[in-house]
């Protein structure tokens, strides 16, 4: 049977029964979304890797202890754990981290690119770099909603519950994020589409 076609909840059930390959499949399936969501908040690759590892260790322990009772999406649940661990980190620090990529090296340089054409690769790289910079300019609460919606596939209702605000507030934060991004794009005459 091809495990790519197995649902997340089926993989979870297999892992609880002792199939470690099921866990590996879950990690491979979701690692980029989980890691990106952490990285965009903490802006430090070492710290993001640490929180990513802590997130999945918590996932493993929770699954084995029989405390996973999510009827819905596995990814949303993992994203909530990652989000809580990130917030715990900020609370421990009592400030936002101030870590940035160096000019010589950016973690975005390691992004896999889909197009084989060199020109497309360059354009994609520029776009990814621009998008990263744009997201970094957003206030934390707007960035949080963008991450949960885009990388956690969470509904606005789920985001509202995870962040203890109303659905209208989470919609409003996304609205401000998108409008802010649009304004920054227009002010800087940026072109997002590579088409």
């Amino acid at each position: 049977m091809c495990k790519q076609q197995i649902s997340d909840n089926e993989l979870v059930a297999l892992f609880i029964k002792g199939d470690e390959n099921a866990l590996q499949n879950l990690i491979i399936r979701h690692e980029k979304k989980v890691y990106t969501s952490i990285y965009l908040l903490v802006k430090d690759s070492d710290l993001a890797n640490d929180i990513f590892q802590d997130t999945f260790i918590k996932v493993i322990n929770t699954l084995r202890n029989g405390n996973y009772n999510e009827e819905g999406k596995f990814l949303s649940w993992v994203l909530r754990i990652a989000h809580n661990l990130t917030i715990d980190h900020f609370r421990g620090q009592k400030r936002m981290p101030m870590a940035y990529d160096t000019e010589e090296y950016s973690i975005f340089d390691t992004l896999p690119l889909m197009d084989s054409n060199i020109e497309d690769r360059i354009i994609n790289k520029q776009i990814q770099s621009q998008v990263r910079q744009l997201i970094e300019k957003l206030p934390f609460d707007q960035k949080e909603v963008v991450i949960m919606r885009h990388y956690g596939n969470m509904s606005f209702k789920e985001i509202a519950e995870a962040t203890n605000v109303s659905i209208n507030t989470s919609l409003g934060r996304m609205r401000y994020a998108i409008i802010n991004l649009r304004k920054i794009i227009q002010d800087n005459s940026l072109q997002l589409s590579a088409d």
Binding site: G18, E20, L23, Q24, I27, I28, E31, K32, K33, Y35, T36, Y39, S45, A48, N49, F52, Q53, F56, I57, I60, R64, I107, F108, T110, L111, P112, N124, I127, Q128, V131, R132, I135, V146, R149, H150, Y151, S155, F156, N168, L171, G172, M174, R175, I178, I179, L181, R182, I185, L192, S193
Partner: protein, 75 residues
């Protein structure tokens, strides 16, 4: 903007988070209002760019997680 379509409505529509009747209303507004249509196209482009921005963790981190899973396996 048309009074039946707020910016929050447009955001919810962008993310397929509107009930059917509202979806029809918003689609009509987009079809009939150039300003809203232009804004919506920009929103789609931003949303697409955000979706494509994915970074992988270091391989050794995933390996460490699997190692932890193996050494703590209760079976």
């Amino acid at each position: 903007m048309n009074t039946i379509c707020t910016l929050n409505d447009l955001i919810a529509y962008l993310y397929n988070d509107t009930p059917l009747l509202k979806t029809v209303e918003i689609q009509k507004t987009i079809d009939n209002n150039e300003e809203v249509a232009e804004l919506y196209q920009d929103m789609i482009a931003i949303s697409k760019a955000l979706d494509e921005l994915l970074i992988a963790p270091e391989k050794c981190v995933s390996e460490s997680i699997m190692h932890y899973a193996r050494i703590t396996a209760p079976y």
